[in-house]
C-alpha cells in the first residue's frame, strides 16, 4: 500500500472523529439561534459541505490543468476523485438546503433568482454529472483523461459563477460567513466540521484515485494478464 493511500486512510479517520466532535457540539453544546432557534444547527453541516464541495471542484480544476500541462496520469486519478467527491457533496448540499429552506422560507425549492445560490448549485451539479457521463462513454484512457481535464476547465467557470451568484443577484441567501459576522459560540462547531469535511473529502479523493489507478493498470494489459491481476488482488 502506498504512503498516499495510507495517509488518506488516516485522513478519513481524523475526519470521522472531527465530524463526531463537531456534530456533538453543534447538536448539544452550542446554544440555539436567536431568530432561527434549533434550525440553525443544520448550518454546522450545510456551510462546511458548501465550502468543501467548492474546494473539491477547485482541486479538480487544478488537477485538470496539471494533467493537460504535464500529461502525467496521477493528476487524472486525482481529478476523477475530486469531481466525484464534489458531486456527492453538491447533492448533499442541495438536500440540506431544501431541509433548511422548508424550515425557514417555507419552501423546499425556489426557482426564481430570489435564491440564486440554490439554482446555480443545481446548475453546477448537473454540469459535473454531465462530465462524469461523458467520461463513462470514452473507451480510450488517454482521450478520457484529456477530455475530462478540458470539460473540467470549462465547468470551473460555472463554479465561479455559483460562488459569486448571491453578490450578483442579491436575494434570500446569505452572501457568506466570516469570523467577524458569526457569534463566538457558533465558530467552534463550524470550524471543526469544516476540517472534518475536508479530511473526509481528502480520504474519498484518495480512495477514488487509487481505484482509478488500479483500473488503468488493468486497462493497460491484455485480458489474460488482466484476469491474473484480478485474481491476485
Amino acid at each position: 500500500m502506498s504512503w498516499t493511500l495510507r495517509a488518506s486512510h488516516w485522513s478519513g479517520l481524523l475526519g470521522l472523529a472531527l465530524l463526531l466532535v463537531g456534530s456533538y457540539i453543534g447538536l448539544f453544546a452550542s446554544p440555539p439561534g436567536r431568530h432561527m432557534n434549533e434550525v440553525i444547527r443544520i448550518l454546522y453541516v450545510h456551510v462546511p459541505t458548501a465550502w468543501i464541495h467548492m474546494v473539491c471542484y477547485l482541486i479538480a480544476f487544478l488537477c485538470g490543468l496539471a494533467s493537460l500541462w504535464s500529461g502525467r496520469r496521477r493528476w487524472d486519478y486525482a481529478l476523477i476523485g475530486a469531481v466525484e467527491t464534489g458531486v456527492v457533496l453538491n447533492v448533499l448540499l442541495l438536500i440540506q438546503g431544501m431541509i433548511w429552506g422548508r424550515a425557514t422560507w417555507e419552501a423546499k425549492w425556489g426557482w426564481s433568482w430570489a435564491d440564486a445560490r440554490l439554482t446555480t448549485s443545481l446548475m453546477t451539479v448537473l454540469i459535473y454529472a454531465g462530465i462524469l457521463a461523458l467520461g463513462s462513454f470514452v473507451d480510450e484512457p488517454e482521450r478520457r483523461s484529456r477530455w475530462m481535464a478540458v470539460t473540467n476547465t470549462m465547468a470551473f467557470l460555472a463554479v465561479m459563477f455559483n460562488y459569486y451568484a448571491p453578490q450578483i443577484f442579491p436575494g434570500l441567501h446569505q452572501v457568506g460567513f466570516t469570523p467577524e459576522t458569526v457569534d463566538a459560540s457558533f465558530k467552534m462547531p463550524l470550524r471543526i466540521n469544516a476540517f472534518a469535511m475536508l479530511f473526509l473529502a481528502i480520504w474519498l479523493i484518495g480512495q477514488r484515485a487509487f481505484l482509478e489507478h488500479r483500473r488503468r493498470q488493468l486497462e493497460d494489459v491484455e485480458p489474460p494478464t488482466r484476469l491474473a491481476m484480478l485474481e491476485e488482488s
Partner: protein, 226 residues
C-alpha cells in the same frame, strides 16, 4: 498563412459545404418550426399565455435547434475521417475551433429571421420593426454564446458513441446563464424596458461569450489531438 486567414478558410469551407447540400439548414429550420408549434400545442389555445411565455419558447427553440446544428456540423468532419485530413494541414487547432464556431454562430443567427417570424405568427406577438431588429440582434448574441462551448463539446461527442444523448447532457447545463439572459432580454425587447435592465442582460450574454470563446480556442487542441 496568418491565423485570421486560416479561420476564414475553414469558415468558407463550412459555408460552401452547407450551401452545396443545404440539408442541414432545411432540417434545422423545419425542426425549429416544429418545436415552436409544439410549445403552442402543449400550452393550449391560450393566446395571452403564449404571448407571455413567447420569449422563453423562442430561446428554448434556439437551444434545441443548436443541438441539431452542432451535431450535424461535426458529422461532416467525421465522414471519411475528414478531420484527420484537416489536422494534417499546417493549421492551428485554434483556427479550426474559431472557424467552426463562427460557422455555427452564423448558421444559428440565420435561423433567427425565420423562427422569430414564425413565433410572431404562432404566438400572436405584438411587435414593431424596432423590437424585431432588437430580437434578431439578441438572437445572434445568444447564438454566439451557445456556439463556443457547443462547438467544443460537439467536437468531443461526435467522436464517440451516444453523441445524441451526451451533447445535450454536457451542453445544456453549462449554457443556463445564456438561457436566462436571453429569455430576460427577449422579454424586455418585446414588452418594453422601463427599468433599463436590458444592458445588464446583454452584458451577461457578452461576458459569457467572451469567456468561452477565449477558453475554447485554447482548449480545442486537446480535444482533437490523437
Amino acid at each position: 498563412m496568418s491565423i485570421g486567414r486560416q479561420i476564414g478558410t475553414i469558415l468558407m469551407k463550412d459555408l460552401l459545404l452547407e450551401w452545396r447540400s443545404r440539408a442541414r439548414i432545411l432540417s434545422v429550420v423545419l425542426f425549429g418550426i416544429v418545436a415552436l408549434s409544439l410549445f403552442a400545442f402543449a400550452a393550449g389555445a391560450d393566446t395571452p399565455m403564449l404571448q407571455r411565455y413567447g420569449p422563453a419558447y423562442l430561446v428554448l427553440t434556439l437551444l434545441l435547434s443548436s443541438t441539431l446544428a452542432l451535431t450535424e456540423g461535426f458529422r461532416v468532419e467525421n465522414e471519411d475521417r475528414a478531420i484527420e485530413g484537416l489536422l494534417l494541414l499546417p493549421v492551428d487547432p485554434a483556427a479550426i475551433f474559431y472557424g467552426k464556431a463562427l460557422g455555427n454562430t452564423l448558421f444559428l443567427a440565420l435561423l433567427g429571421p425565420v423562427l422569430v417570424g414564425a413565433a410572431i405568427v404562432f404566438y400572436a406577438l405584438e411587435v414593431g420593426p424596432v423590437a424585431v431588429a432588437k430580437l434578431l440582434g439578441l438572437w445572434a448574441l445568444a447564438a454566439a454564446g451557445l456556439s463556443a462551448p457547443g462547438t467544443l463539446y460537439a467536437a468531443m461527442t461526435s467522436q464517440i458513441r451516444g453523441q445524441e444523448v451526451l451533447l445535450p447532457i454536457v451542453h445544456y447545463p453549462l449554457v443556463i446563464p445564456v438561457l436566462l439572459a436571453a429569455v430576460k432580454s427577449f422579454d424586455l425587447a418585446l414588452n418594453g424596458d422601463p427599468m433599463a435592465q436590458m444592458t445588464s442582460w446583454i452584458s451577461v450574454l457578452a461576458a459569457f461569450s467572451l469567456i468561452y470563446w477565449a477558453v475554447g480556442g485554447v482548449l480545442f487542441r486537446y480535444v482533437i489531438e490523437e
